[in-house]
């Protein structure tokens, strides 16, 4: 009887691992003709690139004036991250691409205000799935090596909320407070005497998300841990997806 139980448990565990679809996934495995992250990083701007990566977040799906549907994705493999900007994508495929979905993307490497991205891209949905663990980059804030983690899913630990404007608000709607509910939230956090501007990008995390509410409830002086994506706009400008009290 015991043997039977052990056998059944082993079977369940094995099946469970297969069901996850991640157990044997090598996030750095590439098909022929696909670049490694190192090759992508070394590629010159405006050159054609083909990468394979796993979707880590979806930043909105929309249809432009000409009826072309587009979407923006944060994607990542085991080595680095790729920001796929405004890629033509049907709503059906957009819904198929959940966090972890592997995609092959062919497009052009570009940089807009310092943010490296892949534009004018096409894609193919692949079978495997893999979800990245956040990389703790707290210690890299203010260093030249932080940019090597651009677009990655990252975490920041033990930062202090600072006033976002002269009147002492803990956050602003839009960078200068000119926005309203539903717009991007901007808030300042400091570490070791240096203050950084972080953002809740409304297309990535809208007003109905936990992080949007959490940031609206912040108070100057709060100690917080955060997770998000290492977006760049003339310097680091993380797009935060989670805020919790510092542990």
């Amino acid at each position: 009887m015991k043997k039977l139980l052990i056998l059944l448990l082993t079977l369940c565990l094995t099946l469970g691992m297969f069901a996850c679809g991640e157990a044997d996934v090598d996030p750095n495995a590439k098909s022929e003709g696909t670049m490694t992250y190192a090759e992508f990083a070394a590629a010159a701007l405006d050159t054609e690139v083909t990468i394979e990566a796993f979707v880590q977040a979806k930043q909105g799906w929309w249809t432009d004036d000409q009826g072309i549907s587009k979407a923006t994705f944060y994607t990542q493999d085991g080595e680095g991250a790729y920001f796929i900007y405004d890629m033509p994508c049907s709503e059906e495929d957009y819904n198929k691409m959940s966090v972890g979905t592997k995609i092959r993307v062919k497009g052009f490497k570009a940089a807009w205000e310092g943010e490296v991205e892949i534009i004018d891209a096409t894609y193919e949905i692949l079978e495997e799935t893999w979800v990245a663990e956040p990389t703790d980059v707290t210690a890299l804030l203010g260093t030249d090596t932080l940019i090597n983690h651009q677009n990655k899913f990252v975490s920041f630990k033990g930062m202090t909320v600072e006033a976002a404007n002269e009147s002492g608000a803990a956050f602003l709607y839009k960078w200068d407070g000119s926005g309203q509910e539903g717009d991007d939230l901007y808030f300042n956090v400091s570490l070791n005497g240096t203050t950084y501007s972080f953002t809740v990008e409304s297309y990535l995390c809208g007003s109905d998300t936990e992080v949007y509410s959490a940031v609206k409830n912040l108070k100057v002086g709060d100690k917080i841990d955060m997770e998000g994506f290492l977006y760049w706009y003339n310097g680091v400008n993380p797009h935060i997806t989670s805020v919790t009290a510092a542990k």
Binding site: D46, D65, F108, S178, Q180, D183, G235
Partner: protein, 533 residues
């Protein structure tokens, strides 16, 4: 026979119900009420655009508060946008469900598309001259401008399809913000009027590097000598200056011509030398200008507060800002004796509603946006110009314009010079014809520059064959083959039905199907009974 009549009646009722769906019949045309009913309360929505500028937001809020104080029975709900395109998309979506805002900041090109629905936008001509509630009318509770006090050129821009469908709200043009320090360092002297040849030549000279790949002019690794923010405007202005085809007033597309091709080739040549790029490809002209990485930054005069070493608004780290002399000039010209520059800036339209009193309330608020207090305050937030002579000639505005350079905030000299540029050149401004599809043509004009620039950067060949293919692609993508230009008086597709409407129609079909089945069953039973009896 009675059964037949019943069935026919039933069918008629069903048909009338279905044709009433999706707003195809539209609202009745607006008629001005004899009196504004102040005993009733009204709630109107105002969709406004701001330039991500807190002061502009505050001015809207104050305008609303001041208006509501005058008209306590009218409540104005503000919804803010920072993008005209988003307003346009949202209005189009809301036309289908008859949930448009009451008042909306928009562009005439966009209104032309809104007009494809029936009585969607209120023609304002009769309202302008209404004795009681017209511009400066006897029953208007504030000091509104008269029609004659609106700058005629700006008012004309709101007239198309036989009526005025908007009021101008603010006007701007494009300016070339020049790093004069670098122009002179390169051995050039700024002419009185910029020309395209001058800009191409200086920009090319600025691409020279030293052995370490640093640009000689700024000693940096980055130099993008010429950046154009709106490539739509770039193409449109160049064609206007060259008196080349763009479109006719009726919507005939003329842009795919040899002059356009020649201009695209100039863009390609400059791009190949690293001398030209665009906002969409690289980023904001102001950021590169202020970092000493751009010499000619062309952007709206409504972006002047971001331009220059001492700009009150900055988007780059303080340590990256470079000191240089900023000169505000008009955009480059082909014929310096006959300069042409675009007129742009927000206009405001009133959407029709079933309740004419609600429309009148909306009109009163629209008119309030043209009072001196709103006009002057808003124009001071950027390089905007008030749209009324009443405001432009007021002592307050004249004093403001005379104080350029007193500080780097309200009196920031680059901003005031940018506004002065438009005041001095109002007669030289132009707008493009407005028709259903003109917004698409405008996008196509800019997209051609974007495509050529990207292709050159990607080492692709841009030649005659490329341009011919580009023309075909643009024609297809932007539906410029004539299939879309239906004229504003005709119906056009409003797109797919929204899911809620689909659900409602499906529900109606099911309910009527059940009713018919029930009726048929009952009739059959009665028939059977009769037969039995």
């Amino acid at each position: 026979m009675r059964k037949l009549i019943s069935v026919l009646l039933l069918l008629a009722v069903m048909a009338s119900m279905f044709t009433g769906c999706h707003g195809t019949k539209g609202l009745p045309a607006f008629e001005i009420p004899a009196e504004f009913d102040t005993a009733r309360n009204y709630e109107i929505t105002f969709w406004a655009k701001n330039d991500t500028n807190k002061t502009q937001t505050e001015i809207y809020a104050k305008a609303i508060a001041d208006f509501e104080a005058l008209y306590p029975n009218i409540k104005v709900n503000l919804r803010l946008y920072t993008d005209y395109g988003k307003i346009y998309n949202d209005v189009i979506t809301n036309i289908a469900t008859q949930t448009t805002p009451n008042v909306c900041i928009t562009y005439p090109d966009h209104i032309a598309t809104y007009l494809t629905g029936t009585n969607v936008v209120v023609p304002l001509d009769e309202l302008f001259v209404d004795e009681k509630y017209g511009l400066g009318g006897s029953e208007v509770k504030f000091d509104a401008p008269t029609a004659e006090e609106i700058i005629p050129k700006f008012l004309e821009e709101c007239a198309f399809s036989g009526s005025h469908y908007a009021l101008p709200y603010m006007r701007s043009t494009e300016a070339c913000y020049v790093n004069k320090t670098y122009v002179e360092k390169l051995g050039f002297t700024l002419p009185e009027t910029l020309t395209w040849d001058f800009i191409w030549e200086v920009s090319e000279a600025a691409t020279e590097k030293d052995a370490e790949e640093n640009y000689l002019v700024n000693g940096q690794k980055v130099m993008l000598p010429f950046i154009y923010k709106s490539t739509d405007n770039m193409m449109i202005s160049a064609l206007k200056q060259l008196d080349a085809g763009y479109s006719t007033d009726a919507g005939e597309i003329l842009i795919f011509n040899d002059t356009t091709k020649k201009f695209l080739m100039d863009v390609a040549e400059s791009t190949s030398k690293g001398a030209f790029t665009t906002f969409k490809i690289t980023g904001y002209p102001a950021n590169f200008l202020n970092a000493g990485q751009c010499i000619f930054a062309i952007d709206s005069t409504a972006g002047a507060t971001w331009m220059g070493s001492d700009a009150p608004l900055v988007d780059i780290a303080e340590e990256d800002i470079v000191e240089f002399e900023t000169v505000v000039m008009g955009i480059p010209q082909y014929d310096t004796e006959n300069p042409k520059m675009i007129s742009q800036g927000p206009s405001v339209c009133v959407f029709n509603k079933a309740d004419s009193q609600e429309v009148l309330a909306s009109w009163l608020f629209t008119q309030f946006l043209l009072t001196n207090e709103v006009q002057i305050a808003y124009s001071q937030t950027e390089g905007y110009v008030p749209v009324t002579s009443k405001a432009q000639e007021s002592a307050e505005y004249i004093d403001y314009m005379s104080r350029g350079g007193e500080d780097n905030d309200l009196y920031y000299d680059v901003k005031i010079k940018a506004a002065q540029l438009l005041i001095d050149n109002t007669a030289n401004t132009f707008v493009t014809p407005v028709f259903n599809g003109s917004a698409s043509l405008r996008s196509a004009a800019g997209q051609m520059i974007e495509e050529v620039t990207k292709s050159i950067r990607r080492s692709q060949t841009v030649d005659d064959a490329y341009i011919e293919e580009l023309y075909a692609d643009m024609t297809s993508l932007y539906r410029l083959d004539g299939s879309r230009q239906t004229g504003s008086g005709e119906k056009a597709e409003l797109g797919a039905l929204p899911p809620m409407a689909v659900g409602l129609i499906t529900g109606l079909v099911v309910v009527w199907g059940l009713i018919i089945t029930y009726a048929a069953t009952e009739a059959y039973k009665r028939n059977k009974k009769k037969t039995k009896n």
